[in-house]
Symmetry: C3
């Protein structure tokens, strides 16, 4: 039903990211900061977590992209996010929203709805989160989705048209849409759901790929493809979720555009 995103295009996007090595400002949740930074370093970007209200405006404006992840939201962090988003918008820096557990808890759901009106370049969430933001009753259980990604494609397309963002709804298959064109990236492995931060780190990858991207839809789809392909490789090479993490980072570091072009996975 949806065309599979071409690895050829992902290869070009990865080559662009590696050449640019973008500085990525991460306002992410407290749990996943280390793996998120390591994913970006492995792929070739330069992550920095600058969190104080005193510093976020200056740093967002200096960065190639910004990530806002509401996983451990509280008032001081929310205030910093608002300032960072405003500064990013003033400076023309694309920013990505990860609406962790939107629809489950009111405080973060309201915050996410507010951010939807601030022009995100990209939104990356699971099916429950995207359904909730698009106005459906999304369900969700803690930070996990209770719906499959396929069930949220239409909601993702609607959300993309309403916000102007490229929306990625991730799950067994990821769907990436700008509201007109929708790509599928079918790679990945269920083991990824047993390692905290793989979804949050994917949102950071999405942010990194949007930095200076001429084709934002392709950039976001490339992030999903790269994460999924490396996740599948790591799952094949590891003995469980503990060894998966190291193998995933090693795969992100080793992946080359040439390999992406020639590979038939």
């Amino acid at each position: 039903m949806f065309a599979t995103f071409r690895q050829e295009t992902a290869a070009g996007e990865l080559a662009r990211l590696r050449a640019a090595g973008p500085l990525v400002h991460l306002l992410t949740n407290e749990v996943v900061q280390e793996i998120t930074a390591n994913v970006l370093l492995a792929v070739g970007a330069s992550p920095a977590m600058i969190v104080a209200e005193e510093e976020v405006e200056a740093f967002a404006a200096l960065s190639g992209a910004l990530l806002v992840n509401v996983g451990t939201l509280y008032p001081a962090r929310l205030a910093a996010m608002r300032r960072a988003v405003a500064a990013a918008n003033r400076a023309g820096v694309p920013w990505t929203l990860d609406p962790v557990a939107a629809g489950v808890l009111d405080y973060r759901t309201q915050a996410c709805r507010e951010f939807l009106h601030c022009g995100p370049a990209a939104i990356r969430g699971n099916a429950s989160e995207i359904l909730a933001l698009a106005g459906n009753a999304g369900g969700g259980r803690g930070v996990d989705s209770t719906a499959g990604s396929t069930a949220a494609v239409e909601a993702a397309e609607r959300l993309a048209r309403a916000t102007g963002a490229v929306v990625a709804v991730t799950g067994e298959t990821d769907f990436i849409t700008d509201g007109r064109t929708t790509w599928a990236t079918p790679w990945g492995d269920p083991l990824m759901t047993r390692v905290v931060g793989t979804g949050c780190a994917l949102s950071a990858l999405v942010a990194a790929f949007t930095a200076g991207a001429p084709d934002r839809l392709g950039a976001v789809a490339a992030a999903c493809a790269v994460a999924g392909l490396c996740g599948a490789r790591a799952a094949a090479a590891c003995r469980g979720p503990g060894s998966f993490k190291a193998a995933f980072l090693d795969a992100l570091y080793a992946l080359s555009p040439e390999e992406l072009r020639g590979e038939s996975v």
Copy 2:
């Protein structure tokens, strides 16, 4: 002196946990959040760190169990913990206390004493911490115990009777007591003390096993047995504390109830 907890019982508890996949609300310290989440994901539970005062009441009530760990306590976190504990109690959700470094620093010691009066389902600490909470001079050096676990068994039994909690005092051998029956779990490896968060993650496992547990003493002892057995396996399979962590998570993921029943470790 104390009977060894039976792996047969641990097997039944693990099967119950895997079938339920409980949502566990973690208010833990800032240092160990990633390993704690990964331990719960590896064993089959669903962890979530929801920390804002605005969200903890709703989330604690939704969860199967709650963990309160005072390792990096500060006023906003303490306020969130108080709300979460009250909400858990109203909703009948069992909650576990990890009194990190109680007895060493006044602020957290007072907070732990306050929590002792709020009906914890379980308490997991090292000997120094349990001695301090039971009213003995506990000692302790930073976050480490200066006493062996055997020295704290009587204090643990007293603390269990005074609070109604199942108390686990962990060390070379772990002792788990409800104040009447006391089990010993002799598994584990000293290498675990060279990896940050193994104790804190065990407290999260304890919380996960208490979710919906008909036999709370058996549930807490099963958490200690599972962690100790997997720790021993990981220590045998690794080359040091770095590779231990991945091996420990892989072991938790691979461990089956059937294996626990047949195994003579």
Copy 3:
């Protein structure tokens, strides 16, 4: 131009650290807490992250050394750092400053300048950070240096003389100086820059080695030598930045003074 620090001296310092097992109070950034604690545990020190204003004074005074790292600075953390530094000074506890991204953002740069007047025992930074603190235009891009370490040796020597601290400027080669004598430690591997927290963890190692050190210059140089040698070993033994981390911790745990003495790397 600069003499290479002798492994013989590093061996003596490592033996001293292992025998003492110092308690190290870490006020570090939120991103790197786990790897920092694990590096100290692997090498034989006892780390503790105590962050509340209510607790830092008592704990800094109990500790063998203190680390102040401004990577994720915000007002509450800065207030705790000020209290901890004052308490450490009152108790004669040496403290180390890691001026992450000083020169890039005003808020932290001002905080670092303030701390320079409080008698740090050691300062560990990259070239851009040291240049910025010494009054040069440092450059820097996010948390990364835009200058090589050699370019900052003179600034490091000036900073050491002005503050009384031993200053380590780290990069491809590390330089360690008290303003009169300057050692070079040429070990390490570029892969270390692809793993978040290797620099921050080195600052924690520096702090650990300063605890009770009769020869502070030798102690700081030993920290740099140990990290560099273990980094080189880990890089040789791993398949990428993911497996590097475990190999690095394993190498720190396995390294012996005897090996350091006999080894020709």
